[in-house]
Assembly symmetry: C2
Homo-oligomer: 216 residues x 2
Amino acid sequence: MSHTSGIRQAQKQRTRQALLDAALELLEGQSLSSLGLREVTRAVGIAPTAFYRHFRSVEDLGVALVEEALGSLHPMIRTTVSPAGEGEERIARAIELIAGHVDAHPAHVRFVARERHGGVRPVREAIQQQLARFTAEVGEALAGDAESAGWSQEDLLMLAQLYVDQMLIIASLFLEAPASAPEARERVSKVAARQLRLIHVGRRHWLDGTDAAGNR
Amino acid sequence: MSHTSGIRQAQKQRTRQALLDAALELLEGQSLSSLGLREVTRAVGIAPTAFYRHFRSVEDLGVALVEEALGSLHPMIRTTVSPAGEGEERIARAIELIAGHVDAHPAHVRFVARERHGGVRPVREAIQQQLARFTAEVGEALAGDAESAGWSQEDLLMLAQLYVDQMLIIASLFLEAPASAPEARERVSKVAARQLRLIHVGRRHWLDGTDAAGNR
DNA sequence: AATCCGGGAGAACAGTTGTTAACTGCATGG
DNA sequence: CCATGCAGTTAACAACTGTTCTCCCGGATT
């Protein structure tokens, strides 16, 4: 049996993390499919062969990066989508939250945006899977909302998907807006807010023409 | 002077096209940043050094691929977005058109989706530039629409951007839905239609709470 | 008919890559 | 306290990369 504690295990996880960090940094200028095993170990300062003690391949490392980038983001969903409040205020808070996350973890965001449609199948699928989880969670959160009364499960999920995709788009827009240019950031915020607002308006009037409303 | 015609020029453009085609095919399983010059020439059947007669680097070839993938798509915009008709019908036609395009040129679509956030700067920028053109064109087309009366230029552009992004999302969804599974395709069509419909509803009620409407 | 031009071939270069094998040192469990 | 396990090292491998220089040959130009 292997204890979870101990100097040995701790050191292992430390170099493992170093590999992840180094890879993430190297990935700012290239895609995962061109990231070399030796390149990563060189950046960390260990022998190339030591890589195999932690990952079977660079693909494997990529999948681990997906978990690191998106795995810890799930709790954030509930605390953002679900709380009540006026629509306009919720939109502003969501955008602020996205901008803050991009500022805090730009490399993670870039990685996800890049590898979502990237050349490495397992990584692509891991991301899709995480995003599907997000969609399901957002769907649940939306279901608890008063504005979702009368909505079919199908419609709720399509709206959730719309929101999740929009989050990614907004995040990648913030990523491209240099942190040193507050004007660009503000422009992105403005446009993103309007888009979310339009979706919100569409949501409010979604059932207007339905039989359930009686008119038509 | 170099004549535009002649056996010589024709043959050159032929191998150039062969390079583009081979690259596009190789890119189905990897990203551009990992595509090797030799890899491409090997697939075409010419010496590695001959590559330089056509492109200065793989990056250069990538930019050319962007032009090939998106350049010829601009005329399609007007003929899709602008023609009048009932909203529901326009949505169905747009989705059909996207599905058809993905079926006809899957590799091109995959390339754009992949390299839009990919690791090669010049290619990324070329794509962004083309998409910006699309946004402007869609914006113009929307401006001529009766439903856009009273809309500010800013709002029109944010809606256009929303549409363009949505087109890409839908296209990449079709790409992932195997052409051999009509059920998956149908599911994508259904969800995409609902999303476009919701955006359309939001568009119709966008100005509802505005002073221009007199109320509130 | 003679010349020129340029797409392509060939060889060679210095580096790089992933992966193997056999090793060393040290924290760990009995 | 000693034997074991395992993170990390060193050396070596065949294969591959982008790029340079030199050459060749056939269509184009005069």
